[in-house]
């Protein structure tokens, strides 16, 4: 009798230990990884951001001087503005075009899989290769100008135009990420029960009405996710700027990550660069929190309404 009482308890205890061990086996590596590759660098970043670390190999403590320099230097504000402009356009265009592409691909019959793969391929190509291709197109004697000349038009100085440099940077990033965004939207669209569409059709709702009254509200969580991740990624744009515009013309497209790179590896100001990195981390976190708060609110509202 006693045994029958204690056995399940023992069993539960053993199972609890096993589950705890399994849980730890999953958590500990992630914890160590986060500690080593996120927390430790962040601590180092904070430490070096308060030093004059550049020409001399030994960092000298300077307190908040680097932060004061950054806040007093106009060019960093302009770098943040460039980053923000690119991020807004990349996220906005990516969202709209990705959604339209997702709807289009989802409504396709034959060849759906192949077309989806085709759209996803740019995302697999290295940004360095894409940028080199763009450079080949926009050089003063490049392919685009040759094409214009062959049509009797004057060549355009793409690399000296602020508008065109923004256009090519934003265009490249949006085009490269379009397939991925569309696939996320397709997943969202497929999660909507077809019965709802059927009911809407019976109620006499047209395509536009269905889009705004059913599709968009029901994929709002997916929209929120794409918006948040897209904006965070867009804030970290670096390669196309470095490889296509090099921050030009006249630093007009110099994003904040490029400024960090320049200060660290070309201007030999590691301390200042760390301080700038810390500010960018804080700004990105803040923007993410705002985004999450907004989308959470909408999602909860949606759930409450349901």
């Amino acid at each position: 009798m006693n045994a029958s009482i204690t056995k399940p308890g023992m069993y539960r205890s053993k199972r609890a230990v096993r589950e705890a061990a399994a849980g730890l086996a999953v958590v500990v590596p992630i914890f160590i990884y986060t500690l080593l590759f996120t927390v430790a660098p962040l601590i180092m970043l904070v430490r070096y951001s308060m030093t004059d670390y550049g020409v001399s190999a030994t960092p000298q403590f300077t307190g908040l001087e680097n932060f004061i320099t950054i806040f007093r230097t106009e060019k960093y504000y302009s770098n943040f503005l460039s980053t923000f402009v690119i991020a807004v356009f990349v996220t906005g265009l990516g969202l709209v075009l990705g959604f339209l592409l997702g709807v289009l691909l989802n409504s396709m019959g034959k060849g759906k899989g192949f077309t989806r793969t085709l759209w996803y391929i740019p995302g697999l190509i290295s940004m360095a290769i894409i940028s080199q291709f763009i450079n080949f197109m926009i050089a003063p004697a490049g392919a685009l100008n040759r094409l214009l000349e062959s049509m009797g038009s004057d060549p355009v100085l793409w690399t000296r135009s602020v508008f065109w440099m923004y256009f090519f940077i934003i265009g490249t990033v949006v085009w490269r990420g379009l397939g991925g965004t569309a696939i996320l939207f397709i997943a969202g669209l497929n999660s909507i029960d077809p019965v709802i569409y059927e009911a809407a059709r019976i109620d006499g709702a047209g395509r536009v009405r269905t889009l705004f009254a059913i599709t968009l509200p029901l994929i709002r969580p997916m929209l929120g996710f794409i918006l948040i991740t897209g904006f965070i990624n867009a804030m970290g744009i670096f390669e196309p700027v470095m490889l296509i515009s090099r921050g030009g013309p006249d630093s007009a497209t110099k994003v904040i990550l490029y400024a960090i790179y320049d200060d660290a590896f070309a201007n030999s100001k590691f301390g200042l660069s760390c301080a700038l990195s810390l500010i960018v981390t804080a700004v990105t976190m803040l923007l993410s929190l705002v985004n999450i708060a907004i989308s959470d609110k909408s999602i909860f509202k949606e759930e409450a309404a349901a």
Partner: protein
């Protein structure tokens, strides 16, 4: 099965771009083991060494530069049999500078590293070990060696070097009527010596004539002088003209003084020369774009090092390209030039094998290799004994196109100094501002006078230099 195939297809697509980013050369290098009880000498290798010589020799066993590297390494291993020489390449110019900074701030093992213009900055940062000054001063001309010295101590050894010359496209001059069908100057232009103009003023007249010829025909993508605003190239080309006018980037105090009368003369000449350029060519960002224009017969003249020739036509030959000494300004008969493209080899301060590392650098200076650098790669040797050797001017090494690159090293009448200045900090800001400035000089749309423009930019550059 379908899924597996899709995954494999995607993986292949992901790997291909990686391959294009030149990771494969290293991957396929033979992994030579470190001798038992021996040591691994980590050598950052650039010209004249070919870092991936094994791979190249596998596909092209006759490649001269790779065979030379193999011989250099094999010979070194005969003297140091317990050393494995581990070669790797880390780029050039700004990329190299970044890689050196990153390597020195980490624990990456480095014994021998190479450098260029920024070697002075790396001395300041205490990245480089002091070398055997006596040994090198006895063997290498002071002009090239001094660039890697500080307070009488040597921190880098120039293994190969270069200079600038006027590179001339005969086809363009012929088409514009400056040369006749046999590539000899026409009677009208004979006195200006279009194949070897003595004065910048004459060069300008020829360039203007070439530009007029094409403009009259409605062709705007061809012209006389090829210039660029690219921060990688424009300071070098400008310096060649500044030196010819008696100017320099920095004054005796180490400050920018672009508004000096000599520099004003040079920039005024550059502004006139650029008006003869093919339209929009100053905005070429890549050096290769400019060389491609030259090779497409879009310009008659280019002031540069040996690269446009080697990249355009390979080894010098009697073809459409000839070279001449850089002209002087009328009234200033002193010839000038600049040291360019020098590859300095140094020993890393934190190397634990400094003796072997320096032995390797000394090994690279052997006269037999130095002659081969010229013969196989058109790189100018740095060892005095070789530069003065009859072999260099003799029949064996007599490449007509090379003589004008070699002359400044051999001719004592030259005012021959180093290259563009290097800075300890704010390098990106300084050359970024330079690019904006030189575009204003070339575009000639700024309302300020040239003197005022030069003065304003000197002040801006000095603030960056000192902040």
């Amino acid at each position: 099965m379908k899924k597996i195939l899709t995954i494999l297809f995607c993986l292949t697509l992901m790997i291909l771009p990686l391959g294009a980013c030149n990771g494969f050369d290293d991957y396929w290098e033979d992994e030579e083991p470190i001798p038992v009880g021996g040591t691994n000498l980590v050598v950052w290798a650039h010209n004249p060494l070919v870092y991936n010589y094994k791979t190249i020799l596998r596909s092209n066993p006759g490649d001269p530069a790779s065979n030379l590297t193999k011989k250099i390494i094999d010979d070194f291993k005969e003297v140091y049999p317990d050393v494995r020489v581990d070669l790797s390449n880390h780029g050039w110019a700004q990329t190299l500078n970044t890689n050196i900074l990153m390597a020195m701030q980490s624990t990456t093992p480095v014994d021998v590293l190479y450098g260029e213009t920024y070697i002075q900055s790396n001395i300041n940062k205490q990245y480089l070990a002091e070398l055997d000054t006596d040994y090198y001063t006895q063997r290498i001309p002071a002009t090239t060696l001094s660039y890697a010295q500080r307070d009488g101590k040597t921190y880098g050894v120039p293994v190969i070097t270069g200079s600038f010359a006027l590179i001339i496209n005969k086809e363009v001059l012929k088409e514009a009527g400056i040369l006749d069908a046999g590539y000899a100057p026409t009677a009208q232009w004979a006195a200006k010596q279009p194949l070897a103009p003595q004065y910048f003023e004459d060069l300008l007249e020829i360039c203007e004539a070439v530009k007029s010829y094409y403009t009259d025909k409605g062709v705007n993508d061809k012209g006389g002088m090829l210039l660029t605003a690219s921060p990688d190239d424009s300071p070098w080309r400008a310096l060649a003209v500044m030196r010819a006018a008696g100017g320099e980037f920095l004054n005796a105090n180490g400050d920018f003084n672009l508004a000096s009368p000599e520099n004003q003369k040079a920039f005024a000449m550059l502004r006139k020369l650029v008006k003869t350029s093919p339209v929009n060519s100053i905005y070429d960002l890549e050096t290769n774009d400019q060389f491609a224009r030259f090779n497409r017969n879009e310009a008659a003249y280019l002031i540069d090092g040996i690269d446009p020739i080697t990249r355009s036509v390979g080894m010098p030959s009697e073809g459409k390209i000839v070279t001449a000494e850089i002209p002087v300004f009328k009234g200033m008969e002193k010839k000038s030039n600049l040291v360019v493209g020098t590859v300095y080899y140094s020993v890393a301060q934190r190397s634990e094998k400094k003796d072997i590392a320096e032995a390797f650098i000394k090994h690279l200076l052997k006269p037999e290799y130095q002659k081969e650098y010229l013969k196989t790669q058109l790189r100018i040797p740095t060892v005095t004994e070789v530069l003065e050797s009859a072999d260099i001017t003799g029949a064996q090494y007599s490449y007509p196109l090379m003589q004008n690159f070699l002359k400044p090293f051999q001719d004592e009448s030259y005012d021959f100094r180093g290259g563009i200045p290097s800075f300890d900090k704010n390098t990106a800001n300084i050359w970024g501002k330079w690019e904006a400035f030189i575009i204003k000089v070339y575009e000639d749309t700024d309302t300020r006078t040239l003197g005022q423009l030069l003065s304003d930019y000197s002040s801006e550059l000095n603030i960056e230099k000192d902040s």
